[in-house]
Subunit: 215 residues, 2 copies
């Protein structure tokens, strides 16, 4: 059964797609135009009642929340493609820890920066310089902890690439390429090397080749 | 090995403790006084570099982020105590989905309400009535979707109690008991019945008996 992924132009669906490529799972994508509000239309809300991207359809099975989808496929196809959960339950626990850190510590300031530096200007809305400064400061402190961690292990959860690293790719891409603040990463030697490593994986290059970011 | 849980008076560590009780895992707690800033002291930061609660120590194994700890123990002791992940990989995927919904849709508005209605007044800081109103409105829309879901299944992930329900307990407790806004739940028949069901589990009653909320 081919997995259908909705909204491939946006960041959170790309998190799912790069995982499907790593796991060698066949998929197809369904375009959803967020700027036209297609994710708030009744047909879409039947699949994802919160009106958020992505959602996947795998036969009769429907699942949303990008990081839940990552976990589902990493577990279901544990022995196919890249093992993204580590070898032991203890390694998997550490993968879960850093996946939560990505969601709760890394993503919120980067998201605020994306909204204020990229999205608002595009929509003709004013950016909030105070939010931008505070988010840069918060992110800097988070990346200091990443720097310390990545000075000891090659990847976040240990010496193996995992869901925890993979989950940083879409918003990391904005951070490094579109906002003029890549110094936040480049000033930190180990974070910078880690980013070059994970963003040069064939899976992520394939995602960027197949699906453009809308900005 | 007895699991050590840091910071049992606070909400996120309670999420871990109720899980340990459900899984029949022996634990002890270490008091951390957040009002004195003990979670920002160097000894604590060695365990949890972001200075957040909780962290657990299980022999040499140290893990933080409450929902990562839930997942670790639900997996490690799959066949001990309450099964919190469902029977199949597909059920587990839906547990993951609603655990993410709790983290990203339910928790943020409730957290803002707790901060503005309970914490700021206690700290002598001004609350923001606009944030309170916006958070109530956001939460109401989220609970409308819960109401729809819970009209079809007894619990969030299906007809079995899971990590997804359990994870709502600590902030749900604030919402229902300390803020004068329990109508948000009580006006929704199925959400209200669901709350009564999960909050009357012996595990959660035990948590409330053992560890007071600081407010």
């Amino acid at each position: 059964m081919v997995v259908k992924v909705y909204g491939p132009d946006y960041a959170c669906p790309k998190r799912v797609i790069v995982c499907l490529i790593e796991k060698e799972i066949e998929f197809e994508t369904v375009h959803v135009d967020g700027f036209k509000g297609e994710h708030k239309e009744p047909e879409y809300l039947k699949l994802q009642p919160f009106g958020l991207l992505p959602v996947i359809q795998d036969g009769d099975y429907i699942l949303y929340e990008s990081r839940a989808i990552l976990r589902y496929y990493a577990e279901k196809y544990k022995n196919q493609g890249t093992d993204l959960y580590g070898k032991t339950i203890e390694e998997r626990g550490v993968v879960e820890q850093w996946l939560e850190v990505e969601a709760h510590n890394f993503n919120p300031p980067v998201y605020n920066l994306v909204i204020n530096i990229l999205v608002y200007p595009l929509a003709g809305l004013p950016s909030d310089p105070k939010v931008i400064e505070e988010s840069k400061e918060k992110l800097g402190k988070v990346l200091d902890i990443y720097e310390e961690r990545l000075s000891k292990t090659k990847y976040l959860a240990g010496d193996f690439f995992s869901l925890a690293d993979l989950s940083h790719l879409p918003f990391g891409h904005y951070l490094l390429n579109s906002m003029g603040i890549e110094n936040l990463v480049r000033e930190r030697k180990h974070v910078s090397a880690w980013w070059d490593d994970i963003s040069n994986r064939p899976s992520w290059k394939k995602v960027l080749e197949l699906y453009k970011f809308p900005m």
